[in-house]
Symmetry: C2
Subunit: 433 residues, 2 copies
Amino acid sequence: MANASPINTTVPVHTGDTVMKIEQVIHQARRAARELSTLSGAVRNGVLEGMAAGLLVHADAILAANAADVQQAKRENLSTAMVSRLTLTPQKIQAMAQSIRQIAQQVDPVGQAIEASERPNGLRIEKRRVPIGVIAIIYESRPNVTSDAAALCLKSGNACILRGGKESLGTNLAIANVIQEALGSSGVDAAAVQVLSTTDRAAVTALVTAQGAVDLVIPRGGESLIRAVVEQATVPVIKHYKGVCHVYIDKDADADMAINIAYSAKVDGCAVCNTAECILVHKDIAARVLPRLAARYRQAGVQMRADPRILGLLQDAKLAVESDWGQEFLDLIVAIKQVTSVDEAISHIAQYGSQHTDAIITTNIATAQKFVQQVDSASVMVNASTRWADGYEYGLGAEIGISTDKLHARGPMGAADLCTYKFIVTGNGHIRA
Amino acid sequence: MANASPINTTVPVHTGDTVMKIEQVIHQARRAARELSTLSGAVRNGVLEGMAAGLLVHADAILAANAADVQQAKRENLSTAMVSRLTLTPQKIQAMAQSIRQIAQQVDPVGQAIEASERPNGLRIEKRRVPIGVIAIIYESRPNVTSDAAALCLKSGNACILRGGKESLGTNLAIANVIQEALGSSGVDAAAVQVLSTTDRAAVTALVTAQGAVDLVIPRGGESLIRAVVEQATVPVIKHYKGVCHVYIDKDADADMAINIAYSAKVDGCAVCNTAECILVHKDIAARVLPRLAARYRQAGVQMRADPRILGLLQDAKLAVESDWGQEFLDLIVAIKQVTSVDEAISHIAQYGSQHTDAIITTNIATAQKFVQQVDSASVMVNASTRWADGYEYGLGAEIGISTDKLHARGPMGAADLCTYKFIVTGNGHIRA
């Protein structure tokens, strides 16, 4: 296994003949999808176990490929954050293997009966979960997406076409080799998982416009990547846009709880999509909560940007400007605003939020219910940190991402969300005359 | 109530300033959606009851408006089929009212708990059904879509923007007046249902590209309408493409049952999307089934287009040409083909079908299971006619259409399919450190 040599099971696609070759990739994926939909859960889990074991066995080869990618990224002066996302360690590879094993242990979504009923005329109607078919995933620098996405697609009986960032190509192809070995050992079509070895943008265009051949596109990465995919796509897209998450501290909040949650939701993971970017505080509790919260934020090096009415309560805070509301900082920066009611908090979230995850801290059940009903976000937290919005924490085993869409899947998406369903109608000669 | 005068609650949109005005329509819809999501089921059902009663009370005005539309359509030499779809009768208006009452009687999908669990750390995770928000429906000549779509959207707590065909504009505005009266009587925001009085195509473009403001677009009508919407849309679209439905008569079929189903699936409703367009017959049963089936088809005036191997069994059949396979005839025409195995039937359906509805007639359970698993269609029938694929027959009360998509909703779509969900996570100060 080497990162430099082309891997025979991934199709090399070069500028000039991109569309032709991508058509071949898609054609192979469709064939594989048909086989996958008929495989037992045991066979699919066998591939996952093979992948997990293979990642550990071939860890050195993957790390070598990754070191070359990282070196190149540094030569090209990529940002520290990007290099950090790109860099693998033995521990990260172990975590990737562990994640695959957790996916394998989940309940098999394929073939589950979602609903079943018998109609008055005797027809039996069953709604059964089935794979979607062919899923294209377009992502950026994190190489663990390659193994996570492949594992979730296999678990849900889908063929996938993976197109990672060019900065992680060597690493992704090394991981692809492990996946191919696992598919081969289980006798499953190699085209069940295809990692593109091209970084040509025309390949993305071809994938996202392959109506009827590619069933779903999931772009994962920065907002510009996702918008570019949406603009071009005629295939359905599930989007994973930004998280501009709010914590609203109600007048009836437990002050200690509110401080702990507002602090932790920013500081314990400030660069992830479910971090709190904005704290809204009811005016009646501001004086009790904000000075202590500010002291803790200062200690952690958090920069506070506050509205003028509460600047005096927040030592070292800067005056917020309009663009700070609705901003996804992904850093040790937090916006803080005073509101006069839960309604104002709800309106602020409607105007500036990203419908990802928003929290209320309150002991008042009526206020909590109002917030839960009126905040139109994928996850609404009551007395809990926004940081809990996560597929693993919700019991999904792992997640393909956190959907900010409302169609098909919303919030953390697991293997079952990569399924569709079919109606199976059984009669005894029933005609409809 | 008159068909000619503009209705004050629908916004007149004229060429030249379409985009501005449509933005206003969308803005109002978003405001209404926020109110709708908080209304009780009783209030929403009250509007539906008002609509049903109003249709009957104002039937004469609606029929008058419709008569004017029909007259104009005839002057413009629209096709007989289109004029027939456009034409209302007192019976059709009664059926529209009845359909709304059935929708009102359905279980309220809004607020239903889909799943709930408690995690080991004590967090409670609830997945709760909620309205999608603002739904735009773009359709052609059938005026009953106006009342059905409005009713299903209200039932599911969504605001809707309805844009019907220009040939039915007068009728649609008369129906819109009834809807406005019902909304007003219940004190619900008039913008909950907005029927566009423009037929300018720029209005459609504005709707389908209003990302973040319109949540879902459902085009209903011919394939060209749907393709045009998909090409332009950046808002998610659920498509209702054509139905090229197959009936496969297995070698182990009960011959009488097979003949009855193949006959009825074509003849009892030959112009609807779930009619059978192609009969596949196993070679071992062809001689027993086809001559009798052909006799019944002939009697009903069905034109048969058959493959050469079975022409001799089908009196008066014509030789099929390649384009007959996969053709949506929507007429008293049927394609008939002999296959040598269930696998060949499955392959034929994969190649030529439209993933709408396909049936197998067999007494062999293993063959039935294989067909059910491998035919990738929204509805798969076993010993039942394809004509049963219908929201009402599946127990959904009524349908907004039959989705040929795999994402979000597949097959017949009812009110629950016009909902998304949110995760509600309740803790007791839970932080994720």
